[in-house]
């Protein structure tokens, strides 16, 4: 089982996480054409090599994080908190 170094919780079994897919940004709603939109929904690069993906630590801190994983060796060389996420949206008003 892959060990994922959560930036908030440390090394945890991948069974604590939900895979949230390759990082693809959402086309802006104003100019969404079918091609880019369907790519956003279904298109996966799925490289045999390094890829940047999202994982959701649902059984841990409840945070989304980004991981750079090698799809052949399953090595994870870096993880970081999801860009800009967390602090502002999770601070109790």
């Amino acid at each position: 089982m892959i060990l994922i170094p959560c930036p908030h919780c440390g090394d945890r079994n991948s069974s604590e996480f939900t895979y949230a897919g390759e990082v693809h940004s959402r086309p802006s709603p104003g100019d969404a054409r079918q091609g880019p939109w369907r790519d956003y929904l279904y298109g996966k690069d799925n490289p045999a090599g390094w890829t940047e993906e999202r994982w959701f630590h649902g059984s841990g801190c409840g945070k989304y994080l980004r991981a750079e994983r090698h799809t052949v060796t399953n090595e994870i060389r870096a993880t970081r908190p999801e860009v800009g996420a967390g602090a502002s949206s999770r601070t109790r008003p």
Partner: protein, 942 residues
Amino acid sequence: MSTAKRLLSGRPTKMRITSRPGEVIDRSKPVRFTWNGREKSAFEGDTIISALAASGERVFSRSFKYHRPRGILTATFHDPGCSVQVGDEPNVRGSHRLVTAGMKVTAQNVWPSLKLDVASANRAAGRFIGAGFYYKTFIKPERLWPTYEKVLQRFAPGGRVSADSPHGSYDKRYAHPDVVVAGGGPAGMAAALGAAEAGARVMLVEEEHSLGGHLRYGSETELAALAELRREVEASGAIEVLVNSAVTGRYDGNWIAILQRNLPHVTERLVKARAKVVVAAPGLIERPYVFEGNDLPGVMLSTAARRLLNLWAVAPGTRAVVLSANEEGDATAADLSDAGVHVAQVVDARRGEQVVRARGAGSLSEVELGDGSKVSCDLLVTAVGWTAPTLLLNVAGDRPVYDERAARFVPGDGLPANVLATGGIVGDGPTAALVEHGRATGRAAAERALARDGTSVTIPSLSPAPHPALYRSRTHGIVDFSEDISSKDLVSAAREGYDSVELLKRYTTATMGPAQGKLETINTVAVLAEATGRSIAETGTTVWRPPHVPVSLGALAGRVLEPVRYSPMQPWHEAHRATPIVAGQWIRPEHYGDPAREVRTVREHVGLIDVTPLGKLDLRGPDVPKLLNFLYVNKWLKLDIGSVRYGLMCGEDGVVLDDGVTGHLGEDHYLMSTTSSGADAVAHWIENWLQTTFPDWQVYMTPMTTAYASINVAGPKSRELMSRVVSDVDLSPEAFAYMQVRRGTICSVPGCVMWRIGFTGELSYELHVPAGYGLYVWESLLAAGEDLSAGVFGLEAQRIMRLEKGHLIVSQDTDGLTQGYGVGLDGLIKLDKEDFAGKQELEWQLERQGYNHLVALLPDDASVVPPEASQIVTGDRSIVGRVTSSRLSPSLGRSICLALVAPQLAETGKSVTVHLPDGTDVRAKVSEELAQFDPGGERLRA
């Protein structure tokens, strides 16, 4: 002397010999068990097979295809002919499982019978069981498949599984040792010691019932060395020893799976060890020799003979021939003589001497040698070489290479830094050399595990000893004892073109039986190499795959840790004999005896339903309206405090995701309800948007599903009932109207949320009370409503009533392809909003048209309830829809349905054909409204 008398006196049985220095049996503790119903005696420490062998039994099963009698080959866990049934447990490895008092052991796979001379059956079978037998024989014609199945079942090995077996106890454990040592022979024990001495916490795993490996059945010098190693391991505080346990595989991140079988009251436990470093020390497995008659009972490996002699003090025969190509063979001949077994001849393979065939009716009686001479005997011991079980190295990425000089495959050089190997798998040597190599390897493992420099550790070299290459004599014999595959089968498969080892394996099923290649892989490769005129190195070997030993499904499942959820009102439901229904993680009341009566209670008086599983999410912050406006297809920017609104959620693909109401409780404070099954998914969905796309939105979301107990109070008398228990909220229709929310005190419990909505179509209040007061409020409401004929209703009555009202249930009336338009809520979708989840796809759906519509169907015969998922078909039998919900409506006295149908059928009054699962067709008409009961909603708004 009778068996009983002999047992009472504890005297040795037929083949039991006098005490051996390393024996593992306790002669002071006799044990009785039965074999095929006959009483047998044993000593504590005996395996099933050692005890049976001591009593003179030689045949334990029939072979898989040819049904030849099979005896002891290896006397280890992997002995292919020694699987037996113990009580209701099939496929017990009889050469490993220890005898216990009263054990009922029976032979399995004994068609036609264990004792019958099967020469005739054998000949009959042998005619048609060649290589690729399954592929060629049981394919056509298809109408005979049921017959084939019966024939194949008879051929299938294995015992009987009883449906009445009690559940065993299975367990799991997570462990985080620095170093796992897989294999507790001399090198493995030394590695554990070396690692522990260097400061590591070690887990030492041994497949057999005690540590020691081959030293256990070795010479007195080896026994002394073992005693010393054991003493050291015991004295070390840092080594956890797991015996009768096996490392079954290695997975990502040095995640080592260990099957532990030595715990009291636990059948099997799966230990998930996240090891920093693993040391593979599995030792060597002795290889059988291929020649005619090599599977006769009485033909066995040298290690099997020594184990029987020295561990269990059982004479493996009375008159022996020993084929020896190495020191192990020589030691076996010496041990046999020492134990009083007559060694008729030692055939020295190193001098070119050969065994050509073995003969015997039912078991061995004569061996023919290379020079044509014949020796009568009942035991033939072969010592022709070794196989390195490199599974752990293979799964770490290493590929074994063939060492021609040693005539075996050895590890390659492809190991990652967190996997090391020691012992026989690496090379040969006297005990001291193995221990020295093990200790250094253990130290190196600790250095790596503890992230120290480690350069000070020098691992001495240990190389495989030269060994003659002996695989097959000049006759043909069995290669795969589990699958009953002979060298002749392999040669003919190679001639048919299956000349790569991976193809050959799949075509013949060689190496694919219970032994999983441990005994037969190298012989398979060698026979193929010979048949194709290539070298063994050129032919290559198959890759070992986990699990190393069979793992029961129970061990994989472990204890059931999936939570089961009950509402706080569960004690009341149980006391009132609710019929439970499983709904996701929840157990809910389906009904309390009569759903139709429960419906009448609600329609005429007032009823309570426990809706605690309803998802509830507390949302706070100034940007909640923006979030709601994005999540739902309808508009949410203007919702007054005190109001609730129904909303539909779609995914980014436009597919219906969930629905529910959300109420505006106070300044920057909302409560969202979701479907019961969608609670977790919606919470994740919200987190996803907030964290990945809208990080600057000020929203705080808290799942509250289990913090509130939820009760729906429904029926014309619900306001009257509520007025008796609520003191601080004006319940008049003007002050608390339909689709409004209030916070207040119910039955003196403050902090409750109540909103006026209703799935049932009646005047109703949905109450969310702090969970700890759920049961109290439930009981108080019933007491307060006694004179109003207040009752309770379950999920089934609610489903009937919502169907009468035509309310859809997401994932019941929609599926994974149902997009937002067409489910009867088209008016809700506001494409003029700037953005919301799924907007693009919904726009395109509307442009595209052609989607299915949710309609209400009324069967022409009002007494017919088409089962859910019945298809709607055209005259030419193409499928144009399906019934998604159906019930007999007690309020209307007729059957009603919801159905998803093709657009051309979605017209009021359209007559459609519903194809029932029993093959008949019924006609039904599309109704004008989804709601059949009170379509105007007057009762709801009362």
